[in-house]
Symmetry: C2
Subunit: 215 residues, 2 copies
């Protein structure tokens, strides 16, 4: 095995070890360099051959988590295109993701309100990508003003993330119930945004061209 290959391999094992340490009761700021090294099967000092800091590792983890999220969105879109309501499909996909990658989602959730400003910013960027892509999608599907679509999409993402947090906490048997609740809540937002939009256009001109078939 070439030297570079070997290095990449241990680097990956560090990352994997770190993710595995982010279980129920740990955040990035609560895992130590030595712990990560121990879990990765290397000497503490060898860590520095790969990352300058624990912070550098942390940002790498956030990036990887964001990547996973974006892949999730693509997956959700392809499912939607092959039939099924937007809301139902998106929520189902999201919950599946959370359950399959609990630690990845936990990382985002925890560092979103965590103790490191750098991490908070990094997570925020990922979430904003999420919001923007959803807003574009909404503008495209429903004939709605971009400002309103943006508000709608932000609401939806916040509700979904919040429900995701609840899902992590809840027992598996409650998950479908949580899913049902958040779907209903998303429909409120959707209906409300549509109603608001229509009301606006009525004020502007009486021709209610704006349709909302909410699919």
């Amino acid at each position: 095995m070439s030297r570079q290959e070997q290095k990449q391999k241990t680097r990956q094992s560090i990352i994997l070890a770190a993710f595995s340490l982010l279980d129920d009761n740990r955040s990035l700021s609560a895992i130590s360099l030595r712990e990560v090294a121990r879990a990765a099967g290397i000497a503490p000092t060898s860590f520095y051959r790969h990352f300058k800091d624990m912070d550098e590792l942390g940002l790498t983890l956030v990036d990887e988590a964001g990547l996973a999220l974006r892949q999730l969105m693509r997956q959700a879109r392809s499912r939607i295109d092959s039939g099924g309501g937007v809301i139902d499909t998106s929520v189902d996909t999201f919950i599946e993701f959370i359950c399959a990658n609990a630690n990845v989602f936990r990382l985002l959730l925890r560092e979103h309100t965590g103790t490191s400003a750098a991490y908070r910013m990094a997570v925020l960027r990922e979430i904003q990508h999420f919001v923007e892509e959803l807003a574009d999608y909404i503008v495209e599907r429903q004939a709605i003003d971009h400002g309103i679509a943006s508000l709608q999409s932000e609401s939806m993402v916040r509700l979904v993330f919040s429900a995701g947090a609840e899902t992590l906490e809840a027992e598996p048997s409650m998950r479908s119930e949580i899913g049902r609740r958040v779907k209903a809540q998303l429909r409120f937002v959707q209906l409300g945004a549509a109603a608001y939009s229509e009301r606006m256009s009525h004020h502007k001109n009486r021709s209610g061209v704006t349709r909302n078939e909410a699919r």
Copy 2:
């Protein structure tokens, strides 16, 4: 000064010191017993005369924060009764609170998704109080089914807390903008819930079967 009085006083100074340590970049799990003792002006070992653990201190802090929140709600209600829209008044009150008691809100926000299951539960209870009281209020003001009111209130609380997190992060000049956005989002939820509710009752009256066509 009596002995008990003195003891309560240093106990309070420990609590205050702990809150003051919860600034931008610290969570409960990241402040040490010795730090708190140092900030409170006592010897590390004296801490044990007041709390068994740092955990016990932590739960006390969460309780105090919850208390502050409930006081906030009362304040908001009295403001509403003396005129002003429900949403506008509530959001304004909330944002004021956050700015005046940044560390208190930060505590709730951070420990809500934090690393201690006990803290998470404690914060969750406080939030649920919040949701239930709002739901009761909604049932009373709007003529709406309790199940729907509950969904609506949960949505609203989640959106407000989420916006609160953003407020903490944002520069003061952006705060009014954040307030405006979240007010609009809350109106979406309100409009949506009302529309949904109306639709339900229409269906009941016609066919007696509750269907779900918001897909």
